[in-house]
Symmetry: C2
Subunit: 354 residues, 2 copies
């Protein structure tokens, strides 16, 4: 019996480091083949030890969305760090300026308010890169048009202590190529160089996304653990999913219904693009079993296609819908490799949403 | 400006203790009017200080689903504790037996495996009450039929160290009354007294649920904070919702779209019964604004019906879809009363799903 199988105090999140290492190499090679720098989002693992592996494999830096998450990473020696999130409010600007004075940071912004707010706190003798967040077709943050990006870049250049660091978008919809080509044209006319064009998203990572043609940097997060959405998008096979929730069958009311001890408080209720089937995770090794419903502490398994295939006390492995959401729910993960465990590792950036 | 309004480092979860106290009194009075004992589920707040208020107001004890959650409560002096969850596996049985020897605990079970497993670990000289978990019409845990309940109760009575503690179900569907009346009949024929019949669920708390006719105990959790599902079910008005997520407008791409800094990692992606409209929370004081989508760290607000009604840096208060899920995501809550804050309080049972 492997050391992993001896862990029976369920539910818990297991992460296979062999698979993690494979995914890191694979994505680094993919970015190299595309001629793009690679920058992982740490949100998927929130673990400095995995961020360090990503950097060692060749990543140019990492991306964080929230300053509190970035602080955990910076304190653990992870960097350089790009904040791909508009910072708003005095507290955030003050903290960002302090972080930039202590560590290697870049920021992004999509409004003059954010740029001027941060600018008022930065050391005017410094040289902090600020990227312009661009909405290239997806309903999220970012300036709507290339002309807006130019105006914001010029504002950034005019403020002491900061410089224009490039353009950033998420994810990389097909329209992004046209958007960036237009930006390159008007920035060129204005005589302003675009140092970086950064696009992102695990789902497009192994596709021929048109945005890659205009980009210089690629960002992705979920690929490193993989999940059911990654299987659907083709970025990870089942074997390339490093994160598995180990859950025990705690109730077996009939031959066709089982309840496991991982519900939405462990597996997360999140759906995701490409898996809009209302199901909550994939039960490894049991193709006939589905998870049609989660209660807070119950996972409801439908065994209609495989009646009697589970017994009370049996442990199943579940690949979740969305790995990042699972990371943000669970205080620790069990790291393992080749059947040996490295024990439970606390996830220090879990819940860091400020 | 109140001390609460001075808190601008968003996002954070605020809990109004005046509203909490009102909800505690209201539910205690409701249970008394129904002639039922009341037992709150702590999962909604996961805070010993609120559990103590519930007990002081007259609750006969609290309910926990997981042992790790119960341990936090017991260590903080909260009890007696009922575990309304089938315990499975050697680790759980061993831990349950230790908890029962140190604190006042009752357990529940829906299988002979669980009863015999726990029985092997209990002090045979002891007298721990074990309730039979009953499936009275809802697809979850519990024995399917009253005759199964009787068999399991008789097994419990036969094992040294434990005694039959009654019947428990969740929630309280209309069929539950018939189910329990049948149970009362066959238990009576067998000469086995049913000390407690426990039903539960905030959504039915202020309805004339037929199950109340057969019950002796009522359990509920969410009522204490309230949420969008509670507003829909009628258990709480908007004013009776104590939990509000304070989030800041960090991006305002157009007059009709705003992005706030609370996404699914703060608000939870959970839907709930009665609010199957695909929306994610209620923005207090802005009836024209909806939240049609959440990214991990972004709340996407639709201002179509109230264009231009928010500005960058403005803080909005959001009543979440599901308060319990929010509690389980956030490390701390800001307690306040009458505009004064008691500071951020850690939530010690957050993430305790083992």
């Amino acid at each position: 019996m492997s050391a992993l199988a001896e862990q029976t105090n369920t539910p818990f999140v297991a992460v296979d480091l062999d698979v993690v290492d494979g995914n890191i190499e694979r994505m680094q090679a993919r970015s190299a083949a595309l001629g793009l720098d690679f920058r992982p989002h740490v949100k998927t693992h929130k673990l400095p030890l995995i961020a360090h592996r990503q950097l060692k494999a060749g990543a140019v830096g990492v991306a964080c969305q929230k300053l509190s998450e970035a602080k955990v990473m910076a304190s653990a020696g992870v960097g350089p760090i790009l904040i791909t999130y508009p910072l708003m409010g005095e507290e955030k600007w003050r903290e960002a300026a302090i972080l930039a004075s202590e560590f290697e940071f870049e920021f992004s912004a999509d409004s003059a308010v954010a740029v001027e707010g941060l600018g008022a706190h930065l050391d005017p003798e410094g040289d902090v890169a600020i990227r312009v967040d661009c909405d290239t077709g997806r309903w999220r943050t970012g300036v709507p048009e290339p002309a807006d990006a130019l105006r914001l870049a010029q504002l950034i250049e005019s403020i002491p202590g900061m410089r224009f660091g490039g353009l950033v978008t998420h994810p990389a919809p097909d329209d992004a190529r046209t958007w960036f080509e237009e930006a390159i044209r008007i920035f060129g006319e204005a005589g302003l160089e675009i140092p970086v064009i950064s696009v992102g998203g695990t789902p497009v990572s192994f596709t021929d996304a048109p945005a890659f043609e205009a980009a210089t940097e690629f960002r992705a997060g979920t690929y490193v653990y993989g999940d059911r959405a990654c299987i659907a998008s083709g970025s990870n096979s089942e074997e390339q999913c490093a994160m598995r929730i180990h859950a025990m069958v705690i109730s077996l009311p009939t031959e066709t219904r089982a309840v496991v001890d991982a519900g939405s408080k462990v597996l997360a209720a999140d759906g995701a693009e490409g898996i809009d089937d209302g199901l909550h995770g994939h039960v490894v090794g049991h193709p006939g079993i589905t998870i049609p419903m989660l209660s807070e502490e119950h996972g409801h398994l439908d065994l209609t296609a495989a009646p009697g295939s589970l017994k009370l006390g049996e442990i199943v492995e579940i690949i979740p819908n969305h790995a990042c959401a699972v990371t943000n729910l669970n205080d620790e993960v069990l790291l393992h490799r080749s059947g040996r465990t490295l024990g439970f590792e606390p996830v220090p950036a879990r819940g860091k949403s400020r």
